[in-house]
């Protein structure tokens, strides 16, 4: 049986562990019946619950990738696999890819109930939305999600990378965004339609409330847009939303786009994350990331490509929104009046930009000018 001290030793310095290892408390140890034999350990630290998986030699699954075979036997006993690798560059969880075909995600931070990153994709698939990876197996104990097995999106590229590629082509060619190579607009169009489909499916899966337009006007962007929103008599619906929707959360595979990571904004509480909100919050999130992509790509360049970057952002924003408005039309999820829907979306955009200003000033002051410029534009 692994000792508390060994557990603290293993915790220290892990990328996914934000607490203080020396004061961590072991909550429970569970022997897993698999080959190699493993022990699942839950630990409390700084008000959060963390998960480790340790083998008979006292090694963490992070450090001994072969242990992942045992873990897969526990989570999805029917899967036969012959190779495994660590999926690099993950912050908050640990994922393994088997045979380049299936993905096992081990949750490191374990909440009090089901994990939205499992719940939501499963519900969306049941509601007929195909743009999320299916849930092949989920591993729960006491109502808490510990791990999930999903198909691996082989060769997928995230939307952020694709957008930057498109921008670099544009800067190199120096023409207008429509005729430059690597045009992103067809992808923006697809993303818009898919986003609308996702919202319709989220509504089908989790239901809705009607938004109170007055409350909405007061709360969005701390009420800064209230004058523009005060006349709205239909605010659309409040539904389960993605919550942290941007280019980095959508993956392009050889067949289609996929939406990932339904855990919501990491800084918010579990309850806030699943609270119903306007779907326009997601739309604004995506639109903001177009602006970010353009600005970040422009910063890579020595020459002044500001005008081209703005042109790219405007062009793709229009394509994305047009496709979203077309696909969501008639669903009653957004304000009936198109002008109201646009005004509300822009209010969410301002809210997001204000959040970004605070974040950048605290963490990356050199980047603060990106959202600051957006705030100025949106207020104008």
């Amino acid at each position: 049986m692994i000792s508390d001290d060994r557990v603290r030793e293993l915790l220290a310095g892990r990328r996914w562990f934000a607490g203080d290892a020396s004061t961590a408390q072991v909550l429970e140890r569970t022997e897993l019946d698999c080959d190699p034999p493993l022990t699942d350990v839950l630990v409390a630290s700084d008000g959060h619950r963390y998960q480790l998986v340790v083998d008979a030699d006292g090694a963490e699954v992070d450090d001994n990738v072969a242990d992942a075979y045992g873990l897969l036997k526990v989570v999805a006993p029917d899967e036969e696999v012959s190779s495994v690798r660590h999926l690099a560059a993950e912050q908050s969880n640990t994922s393994f890819v088997f045979d380049e075909r299936i993905l096992l995600k081990l949750f490191r931070k374990v909440g009090d109930g089901p994990n939205p990153d499992v719940d939501v994709p499963q519900a969306l698939r049941r509601a007929g939305f195909g743009h999320v990876p299916d849930v092949l197996a989920r591993w729960q104990r006491d109502g808490r999600d510990l791990a999930v097995v999903q198909p691996f999106l082989a060769g997928a590229t995230d939307g952020w990378t694709l957008a930057l590629t498109s921008l670099r082509q544009l800067f190199a060619e120096g023409t207008d965004p429509q005729s430059a190579g690597g045009d992103f607009a067809p992808e923006a169009t697809r993303l818009g339609a898919m986003t609308a489909d996702m919202h319709v499916a989220l509504y089908a899966a989790f239901g809705q409330d009607r938004a109170d337009p007055g409350l909405l006007a007061k709360s969005v962007a701390n009420g800064q847009c209230e004058p523009q929103l005060s006349h709205i008599d239909d605010g659309g619906a409040l539904i389960r939303v993605h919550g942290d929707y941007h280019l980095g959360q959508v993956m392009r595979t050889d067949e289609a786009w996929f939406v990932c990571d339904f855990e919501g904004e990491p800084a918010r509480s579990e309850l806030e994350r699943i609270a119903p909100n306007s779907p326009l919050k997601d739309v604004a999130g995506m639109v903001r990331s177009f602006d970010y992509a353009a600005a970040v790509a422009a910063r890579e360049q020595d020459a002044d490509v500001h005008a081209l970057a703005r042109a790219w952002e405007r062009y793709n924003r229009v394509e994305f929104l047009e496709s979203y408005w077309t696909a969501i039309h008639g669903s009653e999820l957004v304000p009936r009046s198109h002008a109201d829907a646009v005004a509300l979306m822009e209010a969410f955009e301002l809210e997001k930009a204000l959040y970004e200003v605070n974040y950048e000033r605290a963490h990356r002051p050199a980047w603060a000018e990106i959202p600051e410029a957006a705030v100025a534009r949106l207020r104008a």
Binding site: A156, T165, Q169, G181, G182, P186, E255
Partner: protein, 562 residues
């Protein structure tokens, strides 16, 4: 004299038996009118084509596809046939066809030809007899009716010129049915005599040694109430009978369906492997262009993912350009396709609605792009169909109007009329290209043959490499999910032969990591230069590609090439 008596039985030179030749063949679409003028009258002909068979053999082409060469008033490029059993006099005569087939077969080249079963010209004696009254022996050979609102569900295909599928005939006092031009009345395939007559036509040309037919406009043979008259079960049933007949009497011949529909519908024309041997895959071509324009592989991978498997012994025909195949409306009929919006977004494509230009002007005469596009054509699943002149990078003349712009004379040499004809310039059926970039003085067979680094030599080498590896025709196809979306990589495999194709769709140099762990220990050899590359290991295989570059690697197992 019955129809079959007219078939001259003469000793035939037939190619060696090979029941699946068309799965591995490289096809070459040739416009007889535009290829070579053998009698100096200004128009290409069959004798001219015979003279140029050595060139076609040198290039490595396996099969010629001839556009209709039958008697015709030529109101629709010969697709309006007025006598199925004789040759258009300006092309030559029956003996020329026989000699062409014989000479081609001696060189190991097969020949297929267009055949129009759905309709005839209104000049055809069958129609003239049929319209004379309502009781003549052929009265029921065409589709007549008193009600021009029947079958209103069937769309009008040539909306520019036709307002209805019915046209009034004053002599007979009835409407006749036509899915295409009003001068092309549809034959009535519900009449068994028509079915038998069409069998006779096919037999006549197969007896002459023709290796098969491209069946024009096959979806429309029958009409049924309450349907749109396309892809009906009766049509498939008739095609199956044709296939049975061909298989029984004429081994190794091929039926190639022209059904400009979505792949999921086109596969029906393969039946269970008992209908057509081949069918054109229409959407893959614009997707290849789109992928290069967007510098991303997704347009191609998506369409391949939507392409169903085809029965054993069947094959897709794929092409980059041909005489007029692709118009936007034909491809966008299907709502599953979003191509229209993508084309409309691209002003350069918009100018060329329907892409009725030649390949070289479409890619702005960029040889690297032309080579990349052909590398894709030669390595994606299907048999490639080349269009005459594209092996030189020939241009077009858009001022000649949409159809003729890509039908200018083949450019053989820098001599008068581009070496196409010894006639007077004014006599030519169309003027040859004379501009400084694509004109015959700059772009012709003679000078490219002298230049080993020309597009023509490159094309010949590619065809030769392709023919050394049957896997390009019959091998399995598997996408390698590369991390870089500008790179399209796939593996073709047949028995122990494995080829990895890596294509850079971008105008920039690109790195790519390929998950090839399955081939751990294999040694890649680049097929054009036979240069060995570092062995594949446990880690993803790293390749660097020049702008619009591509590699074909043969993957050699174990110590075979250590």
């Amino acid at each position: 004299m019955t129809v079959t008596d007219r078939a001259v039985q003469m000793p035939l030179v037939l190619p060696p038996r090979d029941p699946t030749w068309y799965q591995r063949a490289v096809f070459y679409e040739v416009l007889v009118r535009g290829f070579y003028d053998g009698n100096a009258d200004g128009t290409g002909d069959l004798r001219g084509l015979i003279e140029k068979l050595d060139y076609i053999e040198w290039l490595g082409v396996d099969c010629l596809w001839l556009l209709p060469f039958y008697q015709s008033p030529l109101r629709d490029g010969g697709y309006d046939i007025s006598d199925f059993f004789s040759v258009l006099p300006e092309y030559g005569n029956d003996d020329d066809v026989t000699e062409l087939i014989e000479q081609a077969h001696r060189r190991g080249i097969r020949i297929i030809a267009d055949m129009v079963m759905n309709h005839t010209s209104d000049q055809h004696p069958w129609f003239q007899e049929s319209r004379s009254d309502r009781t003549n022996p052929k009265a029921d050979w065409y589709v007549w009716g008193d009600d021009d609102t029947r079958w209103s569900e069937a769309r009008v295909i040539f909306t520019d010129t036709e307002s209805s599928n019915w046209t009034w005939d004053g002599r007979r006092g009835q409407y006749y049915w036509h899915r295409f031009f009003s001068h092309q009345p549809d034959l009535n395939f519900d009449n068994l005599d028509v079915q038998a007559a069409m069998f006779d036509v096919l037999r006549f040309w197969l007896d002459r040694g023709l290796d098969g037919f491209r069946l024009d406009a096959v979806p429309y043979l029958f009409e049924r109430d309450g349907t749109n008259g396309e892809n009906l079960p009766e049509t498939h049933e008739y095609l199956k009978q044709v296939r049975k007949e061909v298989d029984a009497l004429y081994p190794d011949r091929v039926l190639l369906a022209e059904a400009n529909q979505w792949p999921a519908d086109v596969v029906d024309y393969f039946g269970e492997g008992d209908e057509c041997h081949m069918a054109f895959h229409f959407p893959v071509m614009p997707r290849i262009f789109m992928a290069v324009r967007r510098e991303q592989r997704y347009p191609i991978t998506e369409i391949l993912a939507q392409t169903p498997d085809i029965p054993e012994g069947c094959q897709w025909g794929i092409f980059l350009r041909n005489h007029d195949e692709l118009t936007l409306e034909m491809v966008t009929d299907d709502e599953r396709d979003y191509m229209y919006s993508e084309y409309a977004k691209d002003p350069r494509m918009k100018v060329n609605i329907g892409i009725r230009r030649r390949l070289a002007p479409l890619v702005e005469n960029d040889t690297n792009v032309a080579e990349l596009l052909h590398a894709l054509l030669f390595s994606l699943p299907g048999s490639p169909v080349l269009y005459y002149g594209d092996e030189l990078g020939m241009g077009d003349n858009i001022y000649l109007g949409d159809r003729d712009s890509v039908r200018t004379p083949m450019q053989w040499s820098p001599d008068r009329n581009g070496g196409f004809s010894r006639s007077d310039f004014a006599q030519l059926y169309l003027p040859p290209l004379m501009d400084s970039v694509y004109g015959y003085q700059a772009c012709n067979v003679e000078s490219q043959m002298k230049n080993p680094s020309s597009l023509l030599h490159w094309m010949r080498r590619m065809i030769a490499v392709r023919k050394q590896h049957p896997l390009f025709g019959i091998g399995s196809f598997e996408i390698v999910h590369a991390d870089n979306p500008s790179v399209l990589a796939f593996v073709r495999e047949h028995e122990s032969d494995v080829v990895l194709c890596v294509n850079n769709l971008s105008s920039r140099a690109q790195p790519v990591e390929l998950p090839l762990q399955r081939f751990d220990g294999y040694a890649p050899i680049e097929l054009l230069g036979r240069v060995p590359f570092p062995k594949i290991g446990e880690l993803p295989y790293f390749v660097t590609l020049p702008p619009h570059g591509f590699f074909w690697f043969q993957l050699c197992a174990g110590d075979e090439h250590a």
